[in-house]
Amino acid sequence: MKKIIPFAAIGASLVLSGCMSTSISSADADKLTAEVVKTSFQDKGIAKLSRLEQDEANRLCSAADVAGKPLDAATAKAIEEAQMKTIKWPSDGKFLGDFKAGEKVAQSGKGLTWKDKAGATNGGNCYNCHQISKTEMSYGSLGPSLYNYGKLRGVTDPDSPASKAIVEYTWGKLWNSRAYNACSNMPRVGHNGILTEAQIKDVMALLLDPKSPVNQ
Protein backbone atom coordinates (compact mmCIF):
# COMPACT_ATOMS: atom_id res chain seq x y z
CA MET A 1 0.00 0.00 0.00
CA LYS A 2 2.81 2.35 0.91
CA LYS A 3 4.25 1.92 -2.56
CA ILE A 4 1.01 2.76 -4.26
CA ILE A 5 0.59 6.15 -2.63
CA PRO A 6 3.53 7.90 -4.26
CA PHE A 7 2.45 6.63 -7.68
CA ALA A 8 -1.04 7.91 -7.08
CA ALA A 9 0.45 11.24 -6.09
CA ILE A 10 2.51 11.39 -9.27
CA GLY A 11 -0.55 10.46 -11.31
CA ALA A 12 -2.55 13.22 -9.66
CA SER A 13 0.17 15.80 -10.28
CA LEU A 14 0.30 14.77 -13.92
CA VAL A 15 -3.40 15.29 -14.27
CA LEU A 16 -3.09 18.64 -12.52
CA SER A 17 -0.21 19.88 -14.65
CA GLY A 18 -2.19 18.74 -17.66
CA CYS A 19 0.85 18.38 -19.88
CA MET A 20 3.89 16.23 -20.41
CA SER A 21 5.02 14.16 -17.47
CA THR A 22 8.46 15.28 -16.43
CA SER A 23 8.76 12.68 -13.65
CA ILE A 24 11.86 14.44 -12.44
CA SER A 25 11.83 17.20 -9.86
CA SER A 26 13.15 20.60 -10.81
CA ALA A 27 15.94 20.29 -8.24
CA ASP A 28 16.97 16.87 -9.60
CA ALA A 29 16.92 18.25 -13.14
CA ASP A 30 19.19 21.10 -12.03
CA LYS A 31 21.58 18.59 -10.45
CA LEU A 32 21.57 16.37 -13.53
CA THR A 33 22.18 19.40 -15.76
CA ALA A 34 25.20 20.41 -13.68
CA GLU A 35 26.62 16.89 -14.15
CA VAL A 36 25.95 16.98 -17.89
CA VAL A 37 27.64 20.38 -18.20
CA LYS A 38 30.67 19.05 -16.32
CA THR A 39 31.16 16.07 -18.65
CA SER A 40 30.10 17.52 -22.00
CA PHE A 41 32.56 20.32 -22.74
CA GLN A 42 36.28 20.67 -23.27
CA ASP A 43 38.79 23.53 -23.44
CA LYS A 44 39.41 24.75 -26.96
CA GLY A 45 41.80 27.60 -27.71
CA ILE A 46 41.01 30.54 -25.49
CA ALA A 47 37.54 29.18 -24.67
CA LYS A 48 38.23 27.40 -21.38
CA LEU A 49 35.88 25.39 -19.18
CA SER A 50 35.90 28.23 -16.64
CA ARG A 51 33.51 30.03 -18.98
CA LEU A 52 30.81 27.62 -17.83
CA GLU A 53 30.93 29.00 -14.28
CA GLN A 54 27.94 31.30 -14.03
CA ASP A 55 27.98 34.37 -11.83
CA GLU A 56 25.03 35.05 -9.51
CA ALA A 57 23.25 37.26 -12.07
CA ASN A 58 23.46 34.65 -14.82
CA ARG A 59 22.47 31.83 -12.48
CA LEU A 60 19.35 33.67 -11.31
CA CYS A 61 18.32 34.91 -14.78
CA SER A 62 18.80 31.46 -16.35
CA ALA A 63 16.67 29.88 -13.62
CA ALA A 64 13.95 32.50 -14.17
CA ASP A 65 14.01 31.76 -17.91
CA VAL A 66 13.67 28.02 -17.27
CA ALA A 67 10.74 28.67 -14.93
CA GLY A 68 9.22 30.99 -17.53
CA LYS A 69 8.68 33.64 -14.85
CA PRO A 70 10.49 36.96 -14.52
CA LEU A 71 12.57 37.56 -11.39
CA ASP A 72 10.72 39.04 -8.43
CA ALA A 73 11.26 42.77 -8.05
CA ALA A 74 13.53 42.49 -4.99
CA THR A 75 15.89 39.99 -6.62
CA ALA A 76 16.04 42.03 -9.81
CA LYS A 77 16.84 45.15 -7.82
CA ALA A 78 19.59 43.38 -5.88
CA ILE A 79 21.21 42.21 -9.14
CA GLU A 80 21.01 45.69 -10.63
CA GLU A 81 22.57 47.28 -7.55
CA ALA A 82 25.42 44.78 -7.49
CA GLN A 83 26.07 45.23 -11.23
CA MET A 84 25.94 49.02 -10.88
CA LYS A 85 28.89 48.82 -8.49
CA THR A 86 31.04 47.20 -11.20
CA ILE A 87 30.80 50.13 -13.62
CA LYS A 88 34.12 51.88 -14.20
CA TRP A 89 33.72 55.44 -15.33
CA PRO A 90 36.16 56.90 -17.89
CA SER A 91 39.55 57.33 -16.22
CA ASP A 92 40.11 60.78 -17.73
CA GLY A 93 36.51 61.96 -17.36
CA LYS A 94 36.01 62.02 -21.15
CA PHE A 95 33.03 59.96 -22.31
CA LEU A 96 33.17 60.37 -26.10
CA GLY A 97 35.82 59.24 -28.60
CA ASP A 98 35.70 59.05 -32.39
CA PHE A 99 32.42 58.06 -34.04
CA LYS A 100 34.17 56.71 -37.16
CA ALA A 101 36.17 54.29 -35.03
CA GLY A 102 32.93 53.54 -33.17
CA GLU A 103 31.23 52.48 -36.40
CA LYS A 104 34.03 49.94 -36.97
CA VAL A 105 33.62 48.54 -33.46
CA ALA A 106 29.84 48.32 -33.97
CA GLN A 107 30.28 46.50 -37.30
CA SER A 108 32.66 43.85 -35.99
CA GLY A 109 31.32 40.66 -34.44
CA LYS A 110 34.80 39.26 -33.91
CA GLY A 111 36.44 38.05 -30.79
CA LEU A 112 36.55 35.59 -27.88
CA THR A 113 35.45 32.45 -29.73
CA TRP A 114 37.71 29.40 -29.62
CA LYS A 115 38.98 30.34 -33.08
CA ASP A 116 40.17 33.77 -31.90
CA LYS A 117 43.59 34.54 -30.48
CA ALA A 118 44.15 35.84 -26.97
CA GLY A 119 44.64 39.60 -26.98
CA ALA A 120 43.09 40.10 -30.43
CA THR A 121 40.89 43.16 -30.95
CA ASN A 122 37.27 42.32 -30.26
CA GLY A 123 34.22 43.79 -31.94
CA GLY A 124 31.08 45.03 -30.24
CA ASN A 125 28.61 42.85 -32.19
CA CYS A 126 26.28 45.88 -32.13
CA TYR A 127 24.77 45.54 -35.63
CA ASN A 128 23.99 41.89 -34.95
CA CYS A 129 21.07 43.08 -32.83
CA HIS A 130 20.54 46.82 -33.41
CA GLN A 131 19.84 49.23 -36.21
CA ILE A 132 22.42 52.03 -35.77
CA SER A 133 23.57 54.06 -38.79
CA LYS A 134 20.89 54.45 -41.45
CA THR A 135 23.28 53.43 -44.23
CA GLU A 136 23.86 49.95 -42.82
CA MET A 137 20.91 47.85 -43.95
CA SER A 138 22.19 44.59 -42.56
CA TYR A 139 21.19 44.88 -38.94
CA GLY A 140 19.52 42.54 -36.48
CA SER A 141 16.30 42.98 -34.58
CA LEU A 142 17.01 41.40 -31.19
CA GLY A 143 17.60 44.83 -29.65
CA PRO A 144 15.86 48.19 -30.17
CA SER A 145 16.83 50.56 -32.98
CA LEU A 146 19.55 53.00 -32.01
CA TYR A 147 19.18 55.18 -35.09
CA ASN A 148 19.02 58.85 -34.01
CA TYR A 149 19.92 57.71 -30.47
CA GLY A 150 21.38 61.06 -29.36
CA LYS A 151 19.08 63.23 -31.42
CA LEU A 152 15.92 61.62 -30.04
CA ARG A 153 17.21 62.27 -26.53
CA GLY A 154 17.91 65.92 -27.27
CA VAL A 155 21.70 65.69 -27.12
CA THR A 156 23.04 68.74 -28.98
CA ASP A 157 26.21 69.12 -26.89
CA PRO A 158 27.37 65.95 -25.13
CA ASP A 159 29.58 68.04 -22.79
CA SER A 160 26.70 70.19 -21.56
CA PRO A 161 25.17 69.69 -18.09
CA ALA A 162 21.84 69.04 -19.81
CA SER A 163 23.31 65.95 -21.50
CA LYS A 164 25.11 64.62 -18.41
CA ALA A 165 22.42 62.16 -17.34
CA ILE A 166 21.95 60.53 -20.73
CA VAL A 167 25.71 60.41 -21.39
CA GLU A 168 26.34 58.69 -18.07
CA TYR A 169 23.43 56.29 -18.55
CA THR A 170 24.72 55.31 -22.00
CA TRP A 171 28.21 54.68 -20.64
CA GLY A 172 26.81 52.61 -17.79
CA LYS A 173 24.54 50.64 -20.12
CA LEU A 174 27.47 49.79 -22.37
CA TRP A 175 29.77 48.94 -19.47
CA ASN A 176 27.24 46.75 -17.70
CA SER A 177 23.73 46.51 -19.17
CA ARG A 178 22.52 44.42 -16.24
CA ALA A 179 22.88 47.41 -13.90
CA TYR A 180 19.73 48.82 -15.50
CA ASN A 181 17.87 45.62 -16.42
CA ALA A 182 18.77 42.58 -14.31
CA CYS A 183 18.27 39.99 -17.05
CA SER A 184 19.01 42.07 -20.16
CA ASN A 185 20.25 39.99 -23.11
CA MET A 186 22.86 42.61 -23.96
CA PRO A 187 26.48 41.60 -23.29
CA ARG A 188 28.26 43.47 -20.49
CA VAL A 189 30.90 44.77 -22.85
CA GLY A 190 32.93 46.74 -20.31
CA HIS A 191 32.46 44.57 -17.25
CA ASN A 192 33.33 41.36 -19.10
CA GLY A 193 36.28 42.87 -20.96
CA ILE A 194 34.78 42.49 -24.43
CA LEU A 195 35.62 46.08 -25.39
CA THR A 196 38.33 48.36 -24.02
CA GLU A 197 37.62 51.73 -22.45
CA ALA A 198 38.83 53.44 -25.65
CA GLN A 199 36.51 51.32 -27.81
CA ILE A 200 33.55 52.11 -25.58
CA LYS A 201 34.32 55.82 -25.94
CA ASP A 202 34.23 55.41 -29.72
CA VAL A 203 30.87 53.61 -29.58
CA MET A 204 29.63 56.39 -27.25
CA ALA A 205 30.57 58.93 -29.94
CA LEU A 206 28.77 56.88 -32.60
CA LEU A 207 25.59 57.06 -30.51
CA LEU A 208 25.83 60.55 -29.02
CA ASP A 209 28.04 62.80 -31.16
CA PRO A 210 25.72 65.20 -33.02
CA LYS A 211 28.04 64.83 -36.04
CA SER A 212 27.76 61.02 -36.05
CA PRO A 213 25.79 59.50 -38.96
CA VAL A 214 23.53 57.99 -36.30
CA ASN A 215 22.18 61.46 -35.45
CA GLN A 216 21.61 62.79 -38.95
Binding site: M20, S21, T22, S23, I24, S26, A29, D30, L32, T33, V36, V37, T39, S40, F41, Q42, D43, K44, A47, K48, L49, R51, L52, E53, Q54, N58, C61, S62, D65, V66, L112, T113, W114, K115, N125, Y127, N128, C129, M137, S138, Y139, G140, S141, L142, N185, P187, R188, N192, G193, I194
Partner: protein
Protein backbone atom coordinates in the same frame (compact mmCIF):
# COMPACT_ATOMS: atom_id res chain seq x y z
CA UNK B 1 29.65 26.65 -59.00
CA UNK B 2 26.73 27.63 -61.21
CA UNK B 3 24.51 27.39 -58.16
CA UNK B 4 26.78 29.63 -56.14
CA UNK B 5 26.68 32.20 -58.90
CA UNK B 6 22.92 31.98 -59.00
CA UNK B 7 22.77 32.77 -55.31
CA UNK B 8 25.12 35.71 -55.69
CA UNK B 9 22.99 37.00 -58.55
CA UNK B 10 19.83 36.62 -56.55
CA UNK B 11 21.34 38.32 -53.54
CA UNK B 12 22.71 41.12 -55.66
CA UNK B 13 19.41 41.69 -57.43
CA UNK B 14 17.54 41.86 -54.15
CA UNK B 15 20.23 44.11 -52.68
CA UNK B 16 19.96 46.54 -55.60
CA UNK B 17 16.20 46.53 -55.60
CA UNK B 18 14.61 46.84 -52.21
CA UNK B 19 17.75 46.54 -50.11
CA UNK B 20 15.68 45.10 -47.36
CA UNK B 21 16.02 42.12 -45.09
CA UNK B 22 12.84 40.56 -46.41
CA UNK B 23 14.10 40.88 -49.98
CA UNK B 24 17.28 39.03 -49.07
CA UNK B 25 15.29 36.35 -47.29
CA UNK B 26 13.06 36.09 -50.37
CA UNK B 27 16.18 35.63 -52.47
CA UNK B 28 17.28 32.77 -50.29
CA UNK B 29 13.80 31.23 -50.41
CA UNK B 30 13.79 31.45 -54.21
CA UNK B 31 17.24 29.92 -54.34
CA UNK B 32 16.08 27.04 -52.15
CA UNK B 33 13.12 26.51 -54.43
CA UNK B 34 15.38 26.46 -57.48
CA UNK B 35 17.49 23.80 -55.84
CA UNK B 36 14.62 21.60 -54.77
CA UNK B 37 15.59 19.03 -57.37
CA UNK B 38 19.31 19.63 -57.12
CA UNK B 39 20.31 20.10 -53.49
CA UNK B 40 24.02 19.19 -53.21
CA UNK B 41 23.06 17.36 -49.99
CA UNK B 42 21.84 14.57 -52.26
CA UNK B 43 25.42 13.73 -53.17
CA UNK B 44 26.18 13.17 -49.47
CA UNK B 45 22.99 11.18 -49.16
CA UNK B 46 24.01 8.88 -52.01
CA UNK B 47 27.45 8.43 -50.52
CA UNK B 48 25.81 7.61 -47.17
CA UNK B 49 23.55 5.01 -48.73
CA UNK B 50 26.49 3.34 -50.37
CA UNK B 51 28.46 3.34 -47.11
CA UNK B 52 25.43 1.78 -45.39
CA UNK B 53 25.50 -1.30 -47.59
CA UNK B 54 29.27 -1.65 -47.94
CA UNK B 55 31.16 -4.14 -45.77
CA UNK B 56 33.74 -2.08 -43.88
CA UNK B 57 35.79 -1.85 -40.71
CA UNK B 58 37.83 -4.45 -38.78
CA UNK B 59 34.82 -6.80 -38.82
CA UNK B 60 34.19 -6.23 -42.53
CA UNK B 61 30.45 -5.80 -41.99
CA UNK B 62 27.77 -3.48 -43.37
CA UNK B 63 25.55 -1.14 -41.36
CA UNK B 64 22.40 -2.86 -42.59
CA UNK B 65 21.67 -4.46 -39.19
CA UNK B 66 22.04 -1.14 -37.34
CA UNK B 67 19.17 -0.51 -34.92
CA UNK B 68 18.29 3.18 -35.11
CA UNK B 69 15.37 2.70 -32.74
CA UNK B 70 12.80 1.02 -34.94
CA UNK B 71 14.52 -2.36 -35.00
CA UNK B 72 17.62 -3.66 -36.80
CA UNK B 73 17.77 -2.48 -40.39
CA UNK B 74 14.83 -0.04 -40.27
CA UNK B 75 16.01 3.29 -41.69
CA UNK B 76 12.80 4.92 -42.89
CA UNK B 77 11.14 6.92 -40.13
CA UNK B 78 14.00 6.44 -37.67
CA UNK B 79 15.34 9.99 -37.95
CA UNK B 80 12.13 11.74 -36.87
CA UNK B 81 12.09 9.64 -33.66
CA UNK B 82 15.63 10.56 -32.61
CA UNK B 83 17.13 11.26 -30.11
CA UNK B 84 15.69 8.33 -28.14
CA UNK B 85 16.63 5.92 -25.37
CA UNK B 86 18.51 2.76 -26.36
CA UNK B 87 18.47 -0.15 -23.93
CA UNK B 88 21.72 -1.67 -25.23
CA UNK B 89 23.79 1.42 -24.44
CA UNK B 90 21.60 2.57 -21.56
CA UNK B 91 21.56 6.13 -22.82
CA UNK B 92 19.62 8.57 -24.94
CA UNK B 93 21.35 8.92 -28.30
CA UNK B 94 20.97 11.16 -31.32
CA UNK B 95 21.45 10.09 -34.90
CA UNK B 96 25.19 10.58 -35.07
CA UNK B 97 26.08 9.05 -31.71
CA UNK B 98 23.88 6.05 -32.61
CA UNK B 99 25.64 5.65 -35.95
CA UNK B 100 28.92 5.51 -34.07
CA UNK B 101 27.54 2.83 -31.73
CA UNK B 102 26.63 0.74 -34.79
CA UNK B 103 30.00 1.36 -36.42
CA UNK B 104 31.63 0.10 -33.22
CA UNK B 105 29.43 -2.92 -32.54
CA UNK B 106 28.79 -4.07 -36.12
CA UNK B 107 31.94 -2.99 -37.94
CA UNK B 108 34.47 -3.04 -35.11
CA UNK B 109 35.56 0.60 -35.21
CA UNK B 110 36.93 2.17 -32.03
CA UNK B 111 34.14 4.29 -30.58
CA UNK B 112 36.34 6.59 -28.51
CA UNK B 113 38.55 7.26 -31.52
CA UNK B 114 35.57 8.06 -33.75
CA UNK B 115 34.25 10.51 -31.14
CA UNK B 116 37.62 12.25 -31.00
CA UNK B 117 37.98 12.57 -34.78
CA UNK B 118 37.36 16.09 -36.00
CA UNK B 119 34.35 17.10 -38.06
CA UNK B 120 34.44 15.76 -41.65
CA UNK B 121 37.84 14.13 -41.09
CA UNK B 122 38.48 10.40 -41.73
CA UNK B 123 35.59 8.22 -40.55
CA UNK B 124 33.69 11.32 -39.35
CA UNK B 125 33.11 12.20 -43.01
CA UNK B 126 31.38 8.82 -43.30
CA UNK B 127 29.32 9.50 -40.18
CA UNK B 128 28.25 12.77 -41.80
CA UNK B 129 27.26 11.04 -45.04
CA UNK B 130 25.35 8.24 -43.32
CA UNK B 131 23.57 10.79 -41.09
CA UNK B 132 22.50 12.62 -44.25
CA UNK B 133 21.26 9.37 -45.78
CA UNK B 134 19.30 8.30 -42.70
CA UNK B 135 17.75 11.77 -42.32
CA UNK B 136 16.78 11.79 -46.01
CA UNK B 137 14.91 8.52 -45.55
CA UNK B 138 12.43 10.40 -43.30
CA UNK B 139 11.82 13.30 -45.69
CA UNK B 140 8.35 14.85 -45.31
CA UNK B 141 7.70 12.85 -42.14
CA UNK B 142 6.69 14.60 -38.93
CA UNK B 143 9.09 15.09 -36.02
CA UNK B 144 8.02 12.71 -33.23
CA UNK B 145 10.86 12.75 -30.69
CA UNK B 146 9.78 10.23 -28.06
CA UNK B 147 9.18 10.98 -24.36
CA UNK B 148 8.01 7.58 -23.19
CA UNK B 149 11.19 6.59 -21.33
CA UNK B 150 12.17 8.23 -18.05
CA UNK B 151 15.65 9.04 -19.41
CA UNK B 152 14.10 10.78 -22.45
CA UNK B 153 12.02 12.99 -20.16
CA UNK B 154 15.07 13.73 -18.03
CA UNK B 155 17.03 14.73 -21.10
CA UNK B 156 14.26 17.11 -22.12
CA UNK B 157 14.53 18.87 -18.76
CA UNK B 158 18.33 18.99 -19.02
CA UNK B 159 18.09 20.30 -22.58
CA UNK B 160 15.72 23.03 -21.46
CA UNK B 161 18.15 24.14 -18.76
CA UNK B 162 21.07 24.14 -21.20
CA UNK B 163 19.02 26.13 -23.68
CA UNK B 164 18.53 28.92 -21.13
CA UNK B 165 22.02 28.72 -19.59
CA UNK B 166 23.62 32.17 -19.83
CA UNK B 167 27.36 32.08 -19.49
CA UNK B 168 30.71 32.94 -21.05
CA UNK B 169 32.10 36.44 -21.68
CA UNK B 170 29.00 37.51 -23.63
CA UNK B 171 26.41 35.99 -21.24
CA UNK B 172 24.88 34.24 -24.24
CA UNK B 173 22.46 31.32 -24.00
CA UNK B 174 20.80 29.50 -26.92
CA UNK B 175 17.74 31.47 -25.81
CA UNK B 176 19.43 34.82 -26.43
CA UNK B 177 18.80 34.33 -30.15
CA UNK B 178 16.21 31.55 -30.31
CA UNK B 179 13.43 32.31 -27.82
CA UNK B 180 11.32 34.88 -29.70
CA UNK B 181 9.38 34.84 -32.96
CA UNK B 182 10.37 36.93 -35.97
CA UNK B 183 13.82 38.08 -34.84
CA UNK B 184 16.98 38.41 -36.93
CA UNK B 185 20.72 38.51 -36.32
CA UNK B 186 21.95 40.89 -39.03
CA UNK B 187 19.77 39.64 -41.93
CA UNK B 188 19.59 36.04 -40.79
CA UNK B 189 16.15 34.99 -39.54
CA UNK B 190 16.22 33.21 -36.18
CA UNK B 191 13.82 30.35 -35.48
CA UNK B 192 12.13 30.35 -32.07
CA UNK B 193 13.16 26.95 -30.76
CA UNK B 194 11.13 27.07 -27.55
CA UNK B 195 8.13 25.85 -29.56
CA UNK B 196 7.39 24.42 -32.99
CA UNK B 197 8.90 26.93 -35.44
CA UNK B 198 7.10 25.32 -38.40
CA UNK B 199 7.69 22.69 -41.09
CA UNK B 200 11.29 22.38 -42.18
CA UNK B 201 12.55 25.11 -39.84
CA UNK B 202 15.14 24.69 -37.09
CA UNK B 203 15.35 21.11 -35.81
CA UNK B 204 13.38 19.84 -38.84
CA UNK B 205 16.02 21.14 -41.31
CA UNK B 206 19.29 19.56 -40.16
CA UNK B 207 21.44 17.89 -41.50
CA UNK B 208 21.70 20.69 -44.07
CA UNK B 209 23.99 21.70 -46.90
CA UNK B 210 25.45 25.17 -46.29
CA UNK B 211 25.93 27.09 -49.50
CA UNK B 212 28.10 29.76 -47.83
CA UNK B 213 30.93 27.36 -47.04
CA UNK B 214 29.91 24.44 -49.30
CA UNK B 215 29.75 22.05 -46.36
CA UNK B 216 27.27 19.41 -45.29
CA UNK B 217 26.49 19.91 -41.59
CA UNK B 218 24.78 17.30 -39.42
CA UNK B 219 23.19 18.48 -36.15
CA UNK B 220 26.31 17.82 -34.05
CA UNK B 221 28.28 20.24 -36.20
CA UNK B 222 25.40 22.74 -36.19
CA UNK B 223 25.34 22.74 -32.37
CA UNK B 224 29.14 22.89 -32.20
CA UNK B 225 29.10 26.08 -34.24
CA UNK B 226 26.30 27.60 -32.15
CA UNK B 227 28.40 27.07 -29.04
CA UNK B 228 31.44 28.57 -30.77
CA UNK B 229 29.46 31.71 -31.49
CA UNK B 230 28.09 31.68 -27.95
CA UNK B 231 31.75 31.90 -26.84
CA UNK B 232 31.37 28.70 -24.82
CA UNK B 233 34.08 26.02 -24.61
CA UNK B 234 33.63 23.23 -27.15
CA UNK B 235 30.89 20.64 -26.68
CA UNK B 236 32.34 17.15 -27.10
CA UNK B 237 31.01 15.15 -30.05
CA UNK B 238 27.95 13.16 -29.03
CA UNK B 239 28.06 14.58 -25.49
CA UNK B 240 24.96 14.48 -23.31
CA UNK B 241 24.66 18.28 -23.57
CA UNK B 242 24.29 18.14 -27.36
CA UNK B 243 21.88 15.21 -27.17
CA UNK B 244 19.77 16.87 -24.45
CA UNK B 245 19.45 19.95 -26.64
CA UNK B 246 18.37 17.69 -29.50
CA UNK B 247 15.66 16.18 -27.29
CA UNK B 248 14.51 19.66 -26.20
CA UNK B 249 14.32 20.98 -29.77
CA UNK B 250 12.80 17.78 -31.14
CA UNK B 251 10.04 17.53 -28.55
CA UNK B 252 9.25 21.25 -28.98
CA UNK B 253 9.06 20.80 -32.76
CA UNK B 254 6.62 17.87 -32.48
CA UNK B 255 4.59 17.58 -35.69
CA UNK B 256 6.87 19.75 -37.81
CA UNK B 257 7.58 18.18 -41.18
CA UNK B 258 11.24 17.28 -41.69
CA UNK B 259 12.86 18.55 -44.88
CA UNK B 260 16.31 17.26 -43.91
CA UNK B 261 18.72 17.25 -45.61
CA UNK B 262 17.86 20.92 -46.25
CA UNK B 263 19.84 23.63 -47.99
CA UNK B 264 20.95 26.71 -46.09
CA UNK B 265 22.81 29.81 -46.99
Amino acid sequence: MKRKLALVALLASSAMGLVHADAIEDGIAKYREMLQDGNPAELFEMSGEELWTTARGPKNATMEKCDLGKGPGVVKGAFVELPRFFADTGRVQDLESRLITCMATLQGFNEAELNKTGYAKGEQANVRDMATYVAGASREMKIATPQSHQKEREMYEVGKRLFFMRSGPHDFACATCHAEDGKRIRLQGLPNLTGNPGDGIGFAAWPAYRVGNAQMWPMQKRLNDCYRQQRFPEPKFGSDATIALGVYMGVNAKGAKSIAPAIKR
